[in-house]
């Protein structure tokens, strides 16, 4: 226990924020308009909101690491009964790590790339606790072991670029808890990690909370992540706390419109039992909302749009040779939507690139609309691309749209490349397509930088659909979007699926998005298809252990502690196999 100067009247609270306001002096605008919260010892408070809602700034204020020109302009932050407003830089340095610590999104960037990760764990112990080199190393390895890093001695010797995101987040958690702080802030600590890895990190946080008595502040844009862990939730938007209260109340009777949207997102597209019902007995039997069969809209022709047989792809040669895909087979018929799910590195994007004729295929064949495109020459591939039979929508529309092209120019591009249409015809097609993706025609002359993330992705979809492709590949199309836009884009895709009737290959690491749109789903795990079948069946009765872990790991509004045990068993099983 720290020697807090004054003992606050509220003995139980480790962190208290009272009407904290944060102000940007350079732009003279208030960014956070009053946040109050009380974190009791051993408690977990969650903050939910989109990027720009002020949740991360609030965390930075608590840690005393606000950016330049940004400062706390009102209210008070009390850490262990001590107001942090008057702390000197030396007092801050002494307090950080020992009383409060934090982990963030993108763990790779929070470790020094030039120093072995173990040394960075050791560094804190030596500097802050005065341990000898040997003692600090031993303790560091113990800590790496405590965060369930397999083979901690090996991890100790690695550099950042040699470890995966999930492993690095565990290293960061090891550092954060190394000095046994009272409060740990997890700011989007699992965002952008694979679902199964995310579940592992969240499980670890819960375990550490119980084992070493941490109090947690968990910040996320995903309500389900917060709901899983927290006793109390704050919902933030545009610097305002729009709703605050016990987790169950927020989930069951959301008051604010934005909170209802967050809840609805999970009800609609997430893997969700009714949010008001009792908890399901086991996570593997969660019912799911699956699109109704659309036999009426199915075209009569059943010649496959895509037929992949025994596809193998490898990169590199010699000892560096890496199998990226092995024995993959799948068929997509006209109008069908097939989901591809798997963790990063499982081969999802390799599969997509092979379908475009861009991957070095070493075995098997790929046929698109009856044409074998497995081994095209450069000229043939360009002709194939001009035809626009297969189109591609990328994860990040800001990077896949030319920033120097207006919306109209970008959308028209596939038609101009193919040629044979005059200016007026192209213009008419562009307008029709832009309307079809529910974009206002007034946006046609805008540049990508002037659009919102959701609008940009609509532009990318319009561009992909304008050449009337037989197959549309969507590679993580909603992963870079916030909740509201994710719901809207998925809705648009469902609509286009029935109106346009284009076949889709929908790639995602998020089971919720895949389940919400796909007729069938294939599961990739370590370069192989380990399971394939009707989406409803995959979700309700997953057969392969990895699929079961995936279904059990999907963040839901209702998962509880039993799920954790279940997941641990699955992980152990996978590891052995």
């Amino acid at each position: 226990m720290t020697s807090s100067a004054q003992v606050s009247a509220d003995r139980d609270a480790v962190l208290t924020l009272t009407d904290v306001r944060i102000h940007n002096d350079a732009a003279d605008e208030e960014l956070v308009h009053g946040v109050s919260l009380r974190l009791r010892r051993g408690g977990v408070v969650g903050i939910v909101g989109e990027s720009g809602s002020g949740k991360s700034l609030t965390c930075k204020a608590v840690l005393g690491v606000l950016p330049e020109h940004v400062e706390v302009s009102g209210g008070s932050i009390e850490l262990l009964g001590r107001d942090v407003a008057g702390l000197s830089p030396q007092e801050w340095t002494a307090l950080r790590g020992t009383s409060i610590s934090a982990v963030f999104q993108d763990p790779a960037s929070y470790l020094n790339p030039s120093i072995r990760v173990g040394k960075q764990v050791q560094e804190v112990l030596r500097v802050k606790q005065g341990l000898s080199r040997a003692a600090a190393k031993q303790r560091a390895i113990e800590l790496l072991d405590a965060v369930h890093l397999h083979d901690p001695e090996y991890v100790y010797e690695q550099y950042v670029h040699e470890l995966s995101g999930g492993m690095l987040q565990r290293v960061l958690i090891a550092i954060a808890i190394s000095l046994e702080p009272e409060v740990l802030i997890a700011d989007e600590a699992t965002t952008a990690l694979d679902t199964t890895v995310q579940a592992g990190i969240l499980d670890l946080l819960v375990e550490l909370k119980d084992r070493i008595g941490l109090s947690l502040v968990v910040v996320s844009h995903d309500l389900a992540v917060v709901a899983q862990l927290c006793d109390e939730v704050l919902v933030m938007r545009d610097g305002h706390v729009v709703e605050q209260g016990p987790t169950s109340e927020i989930l069951h009777t959301p008051q604010h419109e934005y909170t209802r949207l967050l809840v609805a997102e999970h009800e609609q597209y997430g893997l969700n039992s009714s949010a008001t019902g009792p908890r399901p007995p086991a996570p593997v039997s969660v019912p799911v909302l699956v699109p109704e069969p659309r036999s009426s809209t199915m075209p009569a022709s059943t010649e496959p749009v895509l037929q992949v047989d025994g596809l193998g792809v490898h990169f590199g040669r010699g000892r560096g040779r890496k199998q990226a895909l092995e024995g993959a087979s799948l068929v997509i018929r006209p109008g069908e939507t097939v989901g591809v799910i798997g963790e990063s590195g499982a081969g999802k994007s390799t599969l997509a690139r092979a379908v475009l004729g861009l991957a070095p295929v070493s075995a098997g064949s790929v046929q698109v609309a009856g044409r074998d495109i497995t081994h095209l020459s450069g000229r043939e591939r360009r002709a194939f691309g001009r035809d626009g039979v297969v189109q591609y929508v990328f994860q990040d529309p800001l990077r896949s749209l030319d920033p120097e092209h207006t919306v109209a120019v970008s959308v028209a591009e596939p038609l101009r490349i193919r040629g044979g249409l005059d200016r007026a015809a192209i213009d008419e097609a562009v307008r029709r397509q832009v309307r079809a993706v529910r974009l206002d025609e007034s946006l046609l002359d805008r540049f990508p930088g002037e659009l919102s993330g959701g609008q940009r992705q609509r532009v990318a979809i319009a561009r992909a659909l304008i050449s009337s492709p037989r197959l549309l590949i969507l590679d993580e199309p909603v992963s870079a979007l916030d909740s509201a836009n994710r719901v809207a884009i998925l809705e648009l895709l469902r609509e286009l699926r029935s109106t346009v009737g284009v076949a889709m290959l929908f790639i995602s690491h998020d089971l919720g998005s895949v389940a919400g749109i796909s007729d069938r789903t294939i599961v990739l795990y370590r370069s192989r298809i380990v399971e394939a079948g009707d989406t409803a069946r995959i979700v309700s009765a997953p057969a392969h252990p990895y699929t079961r872990l995936l279904v059990g790991s999907a963040p839901t509004l209702t998962s509880g502690p039993t799920d954790r045990v279940q997941r641990e068993r699955l992980r152990a099983g996978l590891f052995v196999s």
């Binding site: 950080r96 470790l111 790339p113 030039s114 802050k128 090996y154 995966s164 990895y546 872990l549 590891f575």
Partner: protein
């Protein structure tokens, strides 16, 4: 304790290979080092020798003047072995170079290696002191500017480095000599004293040419270091280190400097040839009989072996220095994985 999910498992076999892997990496990087040095050295010496050959110079004209008869010329060329095929001459010359023998001057028949050895000490002293000054002042100014970035010390340093980087060394040299040697009379204006005669006299003769030479290096190192440090300070790992409760000094020296230093070091590698080249001009101003003066005299006389000797030594110095810089870079930022 439960096993982590599969995505997090480190390959257990890999651990046994860690030690072997590290040794393998060291061997591989040494091999890469040689793989770069040997071809550069061969190409450099070949071009050097080819230039001498193409110049059409002959010791005969140097020794006999205009009165040379064709027989006398042929006799002398035969004596020097210049009537043999070019590649044979090159191979022969390269063989002696590898033994440290740079041949004999056509002008006075003395050993080039011996003459250069005496003079290189002077040039390398000047360039070496300039390098040290450039590093010390460059790093100090760069670090200071980064620390106060966007505030007035930063702007003052940026202005200062911009000004000194556009001043040519010979102008600076003349100015320094005028002020400190002629005006204040506290330093000698010309000449050289070997270091054996004492550090003070040695340095007092070298300091003005070295300062004149160092300006450009100091300015470029300062600017690169400032930018490197400023962008390193923006790194999330700095926020991470702050949140872990590390102090500002430790964060600067352990985390920021290490990641921000690479561009400054790379620039240092580029500056070394400039220092050697600049020394040639500076030697003339400060009356140092270094290898630059030797080279220019030899070139004017058409003393091909002497010029070739200077070039070979320069090539070796520059390549070795750049390899050293790359080795240091690799140690400092292993993640960049530059090779050598």
């Amino acid at each position: 304790m439960s096993a982590p999910p599969p995505a997090l498992t480190a390959p257990s076999a890999a651990r046994r290979g860690v030690a072997a892997h590290r040794i393998g990496r060291a061997v591989a990087s040494t091999a890469r080092l040689l793989a770069i040095f040997v071809p550069v050295f061969l190409l450099g010496t070949f071009l050097t020798y080819l230039l001498g050959h193409l110049s059409g110079r002959s010791p005969a004209y140097l020794q006999l003047g205009d009165a040379a008869s064709p027989q006398a010329v042929a006799a002398i060329e035969h004596k020097w072995g210049l009537d043999r095929p070019f590649l044979v001459q090159y191979g022969d010359w390269l063989g002696s170079v590898l033994h440290g023998d740079l041949g004999t001057s056509w002008y006075n028949g003395l050993s080039v290696a011996h003459a250069l050895g005496q003079r290189a000490a002077i040039t390398l002293s000047a360039a070496g002191v300039a390098l040290v000054l450039g590093i010390v002042f460059g790093f100090a100014l760069g670090a200071l500017a980064a620390h106060f970035h966007t505030r007035w010390p930063d702007r003052a340093i940026t202005t200062f480095t911009t000004v000194i980087s556009v001043l040519p060394p010979f102008i600076v040299g003349i100015g320094l000599a005028a002020v400190f040697a002629v005006g204040l009379q506290i330093l000698p204006a010309a000449g050289y004293v070997p270091i054996q005669a004492g550090l003070g006299p040695w340095l007092s003769h070298l300091i003005l040419p070295a300062i004149a030479l160092s300006f450009d290096t100091a300015a470029d190192v300062a600017r690169q270091l400032r930018n490197g440090l400023v962008s390193a300070y923006r790194g999330n790992y700095v926020t991470g280190a702050i949140v872990r409760g590390l102090g500002p000094r430790r964060i600067f020296f352990v985390h920021v400097l290490r990641n921000g230093i690479a561009p400054a070091l790379a620039v240092l590698g580029l500056k070394f040839p400039n220092l050697l080249g600049g020394a040639v001009i500076i030697e003339a101003i400060f009356g140092l009989s270094g290898y630059g003066v030797y080279a220019s005299q030899a070139a004017v006389r058409g003393d091909v072996p002497a010029v070739q000797g200077v070039l070979v030594v320069s090539v070796v110095l520059v390549v070795v220095f750049n390899l050293l810089v790359n080795i240091v870079l690799n140690r400092v930022t292993p993640d960049a994985d530059r090779g050598v």
